[in-house]
């Protein structure tokens, strides 16, 4: 790496740090962390630093529908390096119901103005599911139905990002019997969008997606469900810090038992790590160290990012193992239980056979009787 390049990066970092009132080291740490989250090679943090420094500040319209605002909250509560300052610096958040100062007609006017001014260039972020049952009357903002508002805002957006499980695949509001017909952004718009599922999702996954857009002018590579591959490419279980316990057959059997206190694998308490795609086990939550995520705290993963797992399967039901089994020489995870006897199976087969045979014989005899009756009936 040339000296001028390093100097340029340092210069960019100084500018941003000065603008945000944070120190340069913190900002560079952020750039490095984001580059790592995205799985980018060395040097990318410099590109990120420069992109943030230039700050084209794309206009962002952030819509809230059926949700708890937990996604926004998790973003604002991130601590290092004052993530909310950064996010508000790199983007121009023109409409966000929780954060904007405007209210009522003023708020709607701001949205319309932003949509008009940045037509075809703004980023639309959607938080929350969209009710579609009964013409979508179950969620209205400023007199507009959620479904209409989404379609209106999505029409001229440069990119649509669904944040949180609700917007990504329906999430908690879509749990059976789904009385409001809660649907995902992709379903409502009828086209795939970038999804950042999680309840709440890790703020770095969202921020890294936005920074990727700023740095490279495009959204990161996604899988078939629209999830960025850098964050959702692997199963939680693959990189879980308790994985060694799983492989060795050491499990917490109930909360507070010896295995639980020793930090054994939580699979038998219903951990959904083995069937949930997310990077929780590698980046942690809340900037409070790697132990700060559900499994690190001793609670099984509930699979909040995964459709058909989170808010669907009972929390303590054991997960489906997706393509990973410990070696055969290790203790088994599941002990086969329950018994069957050969005598009982033979008896059941005999009963079924006798019943089928008896019925067949009787039908045959009745058939003879039919044959006798037939000429008589014709004669009648």
């Amino acid at each position: 790496m040339s000296e001028t390049y390093i100097e340029e990066t340092a210069e960019a970092a100084d500018k941003v740090a000065g603008r945000l009132g944070i120190n340069r080291r913190e900002f560079l740490q952020f750039c490095a962390a984001t580059a790592t989250t995205l799985g980018l090679p060395t040097g990318a943090e410099a590109a990120i630093a420069k992109a943030v420094e230039k700050a084209q500040r794309p206009s962002v319209i952030w819509l809230h529908f059926q949700e708890c605002t937990g996604c926004s909250e998790s973003l604002l509560r991130a601590e290092h390096p004052t993530l909310e300052k950064l996010i508000l610096d790199v983007i121009s958040l023109d409409y966000h119901e929780t954060l904007m100062a405007a209210a009522g007609h003023q708020a709607e006017a701001a949205r319309k103005a932003a949509m008009k001014a940045h037509k075809g260039k703004y980023i639309l972020v959607v938080e929350g599911a969209i009710p579609v049952k009964d013409n979508g009357i179950y969620c209205k903002i400023g007199g507009h139905k959620a479904i209409d508002m989404l379609k209106e805002c999505a029409a001229d957006a440069a990119a649509v990002i669904a944040i949180g499980s609700c917007a990504s695949w329906g999430g908690m509001p879509s749990t059976d019997p789904n009385p409001t017909g809660a649907s995902s952004v992709g379903d409502v718009l009828g086209k795939p969008v970038v999804t950042i599922p999680g309840c709440p999702p890790n703020p770095y996954n969202f921020l890294a997606t936005v920074v990727h857009f700023l740095t490279f002018g495009s959204l990161p590579a996604v899988d078939q469900l629209g999830r960025p591959k850098f964050a959702y490419g692997r199963i939680i279980h693959e990189h879980c810090e308790r994985r060694a316990h799983f492989d060795a057959g050491r499990f917490a059997m109930e909360f507070g038992d010896e295995g639980h206190r020793k930090g054994y694998c939580l699979y038998k308490l219903g951990c959904k790590g083995p069937e949930t795609y997310a990077n929780c086990s590698t980046i942690g939550f809340g900037d409070a160290g790697e132990s700060n995520w559900p499994v690190g705290c001793g609670h099984p993963c509930i699979g909040c990012t995964e459709k058909g797992v989170g808010f669907t399967k009972p929390i303590h039901q054991t997960a489906v193992l997706r393509g990973m089994m410990p070696p055969a020489s290790y203790p088994r995870i599941v002990e086969e239980q329950g018994k069957a006897s050969f005598a009982a199976a033979a008896a059941l087969a005999a009963i079924a056979g006798a019943a089928a045979g008896g019925a067949a014989m009787l039908a045959k005899n009745l058939g003879k009787h039919d044959a006798e009756q037939q000429p008589q009936q014709k004669g009648e």
């Binding site: 009972p314 239980q337 069957a340 006897s341 019925a359 045959k364």
Partner: protein, 390 residues
């Protein structure tokens, strides 16, 4: 049809008479006694000593067969009462009393079987006691509804006993009130046969997608219960005709089978559309026990549909009987598959009934048939008819 009616039965029901002791009744008696012995053992030494029940399968065939299938097989009385008294199809009247008798035993034993399966059986009355009952539970609805229906059926059937005992006065008074019990006798099975399906709704993910039809489960269970009611009437009429050497009742059964055919077509359409709608049909093509059982179950419903489609087939006693037997097998498999085969409470759990469990179920069926034979020989149930001329 009018000709048929006049031709069929103008005779009032009368006791059949004849000897109670035959090799067949003796066999039934022995089977019942074996079941009785096992049950005594079970009440002294507990469920674990007799059954293969475990923490993954807290219920086995004593519930899945004896109660869920048993009560559905006992829907003959319900279906006949529905046809004769609600849809006013008087030509089926001769079938009502024998069908009701079979239902009476089916339901009574289904109700009693629940007690066999209860771990702390001495607490069984809690479900009826206001302070203990959990009124929001489906199980509560099923328990109370089945119990009430058993009482209602004994009242519905009591004229047969009253005639025998010569209590004409009581019978006359009861006849004035009987319409109320008949109405209840149609309402109650509609409620609990659908609720037996609702039981599976609350198991959610634990039921294999091929049988987890969600909100449609009550309808699916009710439709098949009615189908099984028709099938069991055909079976029971054919068996009592051949068994007691009486003329076949094919002429009454033919129009009955036409109604059955329509309902069967509607059921199959609903079942297949539901599987397609939920996207569950794909799992039927996997190489699993569940998929195999599903295809056997579907075959047992589809073959009777094909068999009974031509009008001539519905006049054939053998084809009617074959179709009825297959439908009974199909309805039984739907329930066994939903409650046991497609029921997975967690990895590693297996259940297959023990020999003793099977013998109890066999004994209960034997006891039902034995009691039916005794009652029709001693009480006025089957229509008086000329001895078989064939």
């Amino acid at each position: 049809m009018a000709n048929n009616h006049a031709h069929a039965r103008t005779h009032a029901p009368a006791p059949l008479g004849g000897s109670l002791l035959t090799p067949f009744t003796l066999l039934l008696g022995v089977l019942s006694a074996i079941a009785g012995f096992i049950l005594v053992y079970r009440f002294f030494y507990g469920l674990g000593a007799v059954t293969n029940l475990n923490d993954g399968y807290p219920w086995g065939i004593w519930i899945a067969y004896d109660v869920v299938v048993g009560s559905a097989f006992a829907c003959g009385g319900y279906v006949m009462a529905l046809l004769v008294y609600i849809f006013n199809k008087g030509q089926y009247h001769p079938l009502v009393r024998p069908a009701l008798l079979a239902s009476l035993f089916g339901y009574t034993l289904a109700g009693v079987s629940v007690i066999f399966d209860l771990g702390r059986w001495w607490n069984f009355w809690h479900i009826f006691w206001p302070g203990y009952a959990q009124v929001n539970s489906v199980m509560f609805e099923v328990a109370v509804c089945i119990s009430a229906y058993i009482v209602v059926m004994w009242i519905e059937f009591s004229p047969a006993f009253l005639e025998k005992l010569g209590m004409k006065d009581v019978k006359r008074k009861l006849n004035k009130l009987l319409f109320f019990f008949i109405a209840l006798g149609v309402l109650l099975p509609s409620m609990h046969q659908s609720s037996l399906g609702s039981l599976l709704v609350i198991f959610g993910q634990q039921i294999h997608p091929l049988w987890q039809s969600g909100a449609l489960l009550p309808l699916i269970y009710l439709m098949t219960a009615i189908l099984l009611g028709f099938a069991v009437v055909i079976l029971e009429a054919t068996l009592s005709s051949t068994g007691f050497g009486r003329p076949l009742e094919t002429k009454v059964l033919t129009p009955l089978s036409k109604i059955m055919l329509g309902l069967l077509a509607a059921y199959l359409a609903l079942r297949i559309l539901d599987l397609l709608w939920r996207g569950a049909l794909g799992t039927a093509f996997a190489f699993t026990l569940e998929a195999g059982m599903f295809w056997i179950e579907m075959a047992a419903f589809v073959v009777p549909l094909a068999l009974l489609a031509p009008a001539s087939a519905r006049r054939s006693a053998s084809k009617l009987f074959a179709a009825a037997v297959m439908l009974l097998a199909g309805g039984m498999l739907l329930r066994i598959n939903g409650f046991l085969v497609g029921y997975q409470t967690g990895d590693g759990w297996h259940y297959f009934p023990s020999f003793a469990e099977l013998m109890v179920t066999v004994g209960i069926i034997a006891f039902e048939i034995l009691a039916y034979i005794v009652i029709v020989r001693k009480f006025p149930v089957l229509p008086a008819a000329q001895p078989a001329t064939r």
